[in-house]
Amino acid sequence: MGVKTIGAMEMPNERTREIPKTKELEMTGAEIVLECLKHEGVEVIFGYPGGSVLPLYDALYDSDLRHILVRHEQGAVHAADGYARSTGRPGVCIATSGPGATNLVTGIANAYMDSVPIVAFTGQVGLGLIGKDSFQEADITGITIPITKYNYLVRDVNKLAQTIHEAFYLATTGRPGPVIIDLPKDITTKTAAFSYPPQRELPGYKVIRRGNHEKIRQAVLAIENAKRPVIIAGGGVISSGAHKELAQLVEKTGIPVITTLMGKGAFPEDHELTLGMLGMHGTAYANYAVCEADLVLSAGMRFDDRVTGDVNTFAPKAKIIHIDIDPAEIGKNVRVDIPIVGNCRDVFREILKRIKKISFPEWLERVSGWRRDYPLKYSGGEKLKPQFIVEEISRLTNGEAYITTEVGQNQMWAANYYTCKYPRRFISSGGLGTMGFGLPAAIGVQVAHPEAIVFDIAGDGSVQMTSQELATAVTYRLPINIAILNNNYLGMVRRWQELFFNGRYSETKLSSSPDFVKLAEAYGARGIRVTSPEEVRPALQEAIHAPEPVIIDFIIDPKENVYPMVPAGGSLNKMLGR
């Protein structure tokens, strides 16, 4: 049985990489790993050494591969994640066995939920010690089965190169995702003949890219016959590199575009047909448009509960077209009328070939009415509002910066008030909702884009989960900007306590956070404190021009909340604070 995989390596925005065939050479496992990484086009690794990966780090000592030493393995995997999301190339990280490996778990789960290509190497105790509860032994392949696309425990050094080649192939093709390679210590010291690329043996792995012609024909017909269509673009539009095709489709049809949190940047948000995000903290006009639409063209998104609210009342009047590379996503959460399994870019291209030029003036009129009547709003005044800060970041960087976020209210303010113009520039933990993601992710982004302006829009709670990575940013002179929207609370949780637990604020006040300015300074970064609206712009300007990492501690109005809001499981047209 041969390899039945359809389609070549999918690295969005890149030509398919040809890997030149090498001569056979005898190498140690550790050398093989590094050699494979070079052949796969890896430029940088995020990692943390330890006992079981000593041979690997020893080989790295002589290598020209760039290694970024983090302060906690979670930082390594989030940085690899930020690197991957901002470039479209796989992120690579290394951790040692046992606690090193288990420290990756949150970041791996995070990448899995958001379909991010990561190849993670974990050390493992020697083959003879596996299963004996040896020092720093953890069954990381067992632990990560549900949160990886695939994982490997390498038992034969002769299979090492093949394993790594397969891992990169799996991580980057089809629906991308994290793959772990667990390396017993003695595998890295044994030798084997090395040549590249080896044969892949993945008879069960198939990628369908193009989409069924008949379904595409039905979709085109449905779009042409619709009266009130909307497009919902998810992360798959970005990961398949389909943003140009999406723009062409909108150009040709005039259909308004809603994005999910993961799809933010798939369509330029300064365009008149952009409706922003839908769902629990979506805009009122996006939610109304979905409720009234007679056709929903959803692409590369998975109808998460934060998006749909009550699935029974989701898009009640609409025929649903669902384009996704993963067949298991279709029909999982909502009924779908026209399923199309395929890569968003290829399917959009097919649709574009066939679709007539159409327009929906009456529908757009209604949508504009909602936008006019129910805009995103907050009261300004003298208090320092988080929404204003995000808007200022947006204005000052012309919507062209790379934004990472933490998780909570800061994330929703960032999603709603930052006008993102390009794909791969809004990077947020969508599915898992991992507090502490933003800072290390910003490090990964800045490593990939040394000249770019990078902001981590943070909360005072989230940022403390990984703030030790400031040391990493300082070490490598990565001038990331960490904008802490500091309200001294776990704001999102407090909000739910306010609404659903009669204001019983159990354990959500963070009373003794550090002085973030001093914290920055302690690490050798710059710290700026901002307490009033007029200080915002100068502080942002100072931060952007500073050659070192900067924390800006924005002391915001602690009473501010995220509006509008659809309570969990509610219907999208029943919003609070509209």
């Binding site: 067992g142 549900p146 008879p203 069960g204 067949p327 298991a328 029909g331």
Partner: protein, 163 residues
């Protein structure tokens, strides 16, 4: 409704863990599961009986298919197929009622595979109904122990089960 799935997998370490983990994680109910190698030594066949409506079973198949080690998933419930289970029953038997038990064994075309002082082990194969029937028939004598394999199945006719 019960569905019978024929799943071809790569014979690699951990494959069963991946599959059973998938069922428990996503809340699917396994009625029975049996696994063994096929005519191709690198490939194993897992026969899974799963309870659920068509929509649930469709999700089960898609999720199984997503596993890298899974080569093919076929829901053969609606195809004409042969299915078999094997049961071993240890039943109380003294010289007085052995004859009576042997009559049941003959009726079901089962076999006695072990004779103890006060017990017999009976082996039977058949579809689920027959296996249930023999177990019920022997109940009055006092069943000490039962072990069943779970179902294996194959499509009737010349074509292979994996279409």
């Amino acid at each position: 409704m019960k569905h019978t799935l024929a799943v071809l997998v790569q014979n690699r370490p951990g494959v069963l863990t991946r599959i059973s983990g998938l069922f428990s994680r996503r809340g699917y109910n396994i009625e029975s599961l049996s696994v063994g190698r096929t005519e191709e030594p690198t490939i194993s066949r897992i026969t899974i009986v799963v309870e659920g409506d068509d929509q649930v079973v469709e999700q089960v198949c898609k999720q199984l298919y997503k596993l890298v080690d899974v080569i093919k998933v076929s829901d053969i419930t609606k195809d004409a197929h042969v299915d078999r289970e094997l049961i071993l029953i240890k039943v109380n038997a003294d010289p007085a009622n052995r004859g009576e038990i042997m009559q049941f064994v003959d009726v079901f075309r089962a076999h006695v595979v072990d004779i103890g002082k006060n017990s017999l082990i009976i082996e039977a194969t058949g579809d689920e109904e027959k296996i249930n029937a023999i177990e019920a028939s022997l109940q009055p004598f006092g069943i000490k122990e039962v072990v069943r394999t779970g179902k294996v199945a194959m499509i009737r006719g010349a074509k292979p089960t994996e279409k």
